[in-house]
């Protein structure tokens, strides 16, 4: 219980503040939890590890939760993960039950968040304990598995893999580091770039550029219209919320929370996959799904408990294997590196106190999120109206601080923002996927070391199959994930063909809408 001494009032204030800022970010359409964490990173430079983590975890939980506000009130998902919240939330708001809908979402969110925190607490140390025995061969295969899972859950596996490989390629720019057993020579660049790129691109400017600057560019292209001026926020006529809404819905709540946690564990899979999966499961399994999509609380429960359950789930592979579960935890890796901590199998055994502190912060952030949103929802709902012409310049400014200060004042890191801002913009424009690219970028240089070192010591490619039974199991999983993607690909193609033959006109369906988003 030594860790209790590390918790002071500042710690709780920071976690609460993080949750509040996160909710605001999440509530503004177009701003995501990832962006909230990326933009607020500079604030943690001056904080210690534990205080910094409190703030970041607060931001994460708040950011994911905040997305429900515009989803319910304006039919715009504030974050991608609240896409299914719009299906039932907006119809309820139109009926004048906005506040009731939001409160259902808040309760579902906190349950989802806490269930996933519990799973994280029980499961991460076990997984870490297991993976501690991994040699370079298994570590390489784990990365390969992570990338194949990301790719197989992308909207197109081919595009997903390609995006991931581009990420790996980008991570190889720079020297083959001597400290990792390399020969210290640079590759994939011209000589004149060496002064800037000897160590490759820094992780955080890359992330901030891709999630901050490219979002601004995408919005600027659309004219940065606030677009909400004519919308009137219909929040409530006398609430009407009571916990009895949840009667008979506990199975849904718990099932969706576990679905969210599980999807969160899969690397690189965004929140929209979790909520879409939980929503469709509820639709398939419940006895009465006729009201879903027209304003049924059960849809809100499924969607919001699943997307908040992502938070704990995504932290599991991060803390036990060093592999981020989603783009927000990818930014968290940067924050850890900044504090001189390497996440991986040894993280929990070597930093037990930090581990408990993180769990406390996560649970506390969920609770703060609950109280903030449950009692102050009316006021928070107003932030969806913050004009973009005020917000965007401030975001760019914060991105600059984050990038410049990370290595104590290197101007090239600021230019990295722009390079990756434009790259992120192009990638999204031509239909490649950002999440696999980022995960590839983060894991690429490690993958190289594990791969090359394994071959150097064993001298044969067959070692990747014969090293241990675990290696064989990992190959089994890799093959399974690829097969899954191929089967799903065929299924969706068959369905598309069927829809095409059935519908000669063009009437997009709700299910189609759910599938192309991630």
């Amino acid at each position: 219980m030594d860790f209790l001494f590390l918790l002071d009032i500042t710690f709780f204030l920071l976690a609460g503040l993080g949750a509040l800022i996160g909710i605001i970010f999440g509530a503004i359409p177009g701003m995501t939890a990832t962006m909230a964490v990326a933009v607020c990173l500079p604030l943690t430079y001056a904080l210690g590890l534990h205080h910094g983590l409190a703030l970041l975890l607060g931001l994460y939980v708040g950011g994911i939760s905040g997305g429900m506000v515009p989803a319910v009130l304006l039919n715009i998902p504030g974050t991608p993960s609240s896409i299914t919240t719009t299906f039932d939330g907006y119809p309820m708001a139109q009926k004048g039950e906005g506040e009731k809908a939001l409160k259902i979402c808040v309760v579902a969110s906190v349950v989802g968040g806490l269930i996933s925190a519990a799973v994280l607490f029980l499961f991460a140390p076990l997984l870490a304990d297991f993976s501690i025995k991994f040699s370079y061969v298994e570590k390489f295969l784990i990365i390969l598995l992570a990338l194949s899972v990301i790719a197989s859950l992308s909207s197109s596996m081919l595009i997903g893999i390609f995006s991931g490989v581009i990420g790996i390629w980008l991570s190889l720019i720079g020297d083959y580091s001597i400290s990792d057993g390399g020969n210290g020579k640079t590759r994939l660049m011209f000589d004149f770039m060496e002064p800037y790129l000897f160590e490759g691109f820094s992780l955080l400017p890359v992330l901030i550029g891709i999630f901050g600057i490219s979002t601004i560019l995408l919005e600027a292209e659309k004219g940065a219209k606030s677009g909400l001026v004519n919308e009137r926020i219909k929040i409530s006529r006398g609430g009407g919320f009571s916990l009895s809404v949840f009667n008979g819905r506990l199975t849904n709540l718990v099932r969706s929370s576990f679905i969210g946690t599980f999807v969160g564990m899969l690397p690189g899979v965004g929140g929209s996959a979790a909520s879409v999966l939980a929503y469709t499961q509820e639709k398939n399994l419940t006895r009465d799904s006729s009201q879903m999509g027209k304003g049924a609380p059960q849809g809100l429960i499924a969607s919001e408990s699943a997307n908040n359950a992502l938070t704990g789930g995504a932290l599991i592979p991060l803390l036990s294997l060093g592999i981020p579960g989603d783009s927000t935890t990818a930014v968290l890796i940067g924050a850890f590196t900044l504090q001189g901590i390497q996440v991986g199998p040894l993280f929990i055994p070597e930093n037990t106190e930090t581990w408990y502190v993180m769990m406390t912060a996560l649970v506390f952030a969920n609770i703060v999120m609950f109280f903030l949103m449950f009692y102050a929802i009316k006021y928070i709902a107003k932030v969806v109206m913050v004009p973009k012409h005020i917000l965007f310049p401030i975001i760019v400014m914060m991105c600059v601080v984050g990038a410049y200060a990370i290595n104590y004042g290197i101007m090239f890191d600021v230019w990295t923002l722009l390079i990756f801002g434009i790259l992120g913009y192009l990638v999204q424009k031509i239909g490649l996927e950002v999440a696999p690219l980022i995960i590839g970028f983060i894991l690429g240089s490690q993958a190289e070391i594990y791969f090359v070192k394994s071959l150097e010591s064993f001298g044969t490619y067959s070692i990747f199959f014969t090293r241990s039974p675990i290696a064989v199991v990992l190959w089994g999983l890799i093959v399974a994930s690829v097969m899954f993607a191929i089967v799903m690909g065929f299924k969706s193609r068959a369905r598309q063909k069927m829809e095409l033959t059935q519908v000669t006109g063009s009437t997009p369906t709700a299910s189609g809408k759910g599938h192309d988003t991630n």
Binding site: A46, I166, I213, P393, K429
Partner: protein, 147 residues
Amino acid sequence: MESGLLSLLSISIDFETSHLFFPRIIHWIMAGLLALILVTKVAPFMVAVKRGERTIPIVGEARDNFRFFGTLVLIVAYFYFMAVVGDIFPYTGYGFLMVSMAFVLLMSLLYLHDWTKKAITIVVVNAIVAPSLAWFVLAKLFTITLP
């Protein structure tokens, strides 16, 4: 037979050129995937473009050119002048402070759709207050390095 297979799989990596070993594999994979994508995705897409069903991304799309390129120009100028002004007042963060004020003001005006007196007042106040606040909290309270 088996030994033939094993010798096929065996590999020795020259330390001097080991920095190129993995990138080379990645290049081959990238080339292979690109070829697959060109055949399975891009070719059908281009056919659809020719038939006029789809448009080429970026080139063929409607875009608010003024605001998009305005943003790019402003960001480039912001980054450039921040360093220039920062060098005049080293280690103070004044470069960041002054150039940020100008940047926030210009970018806000760029995105502002209705130029009312009230909106412009808010923009100007924000352009002065936000960078000052950020500079004060980060550079003074937290002693974070700023340009």
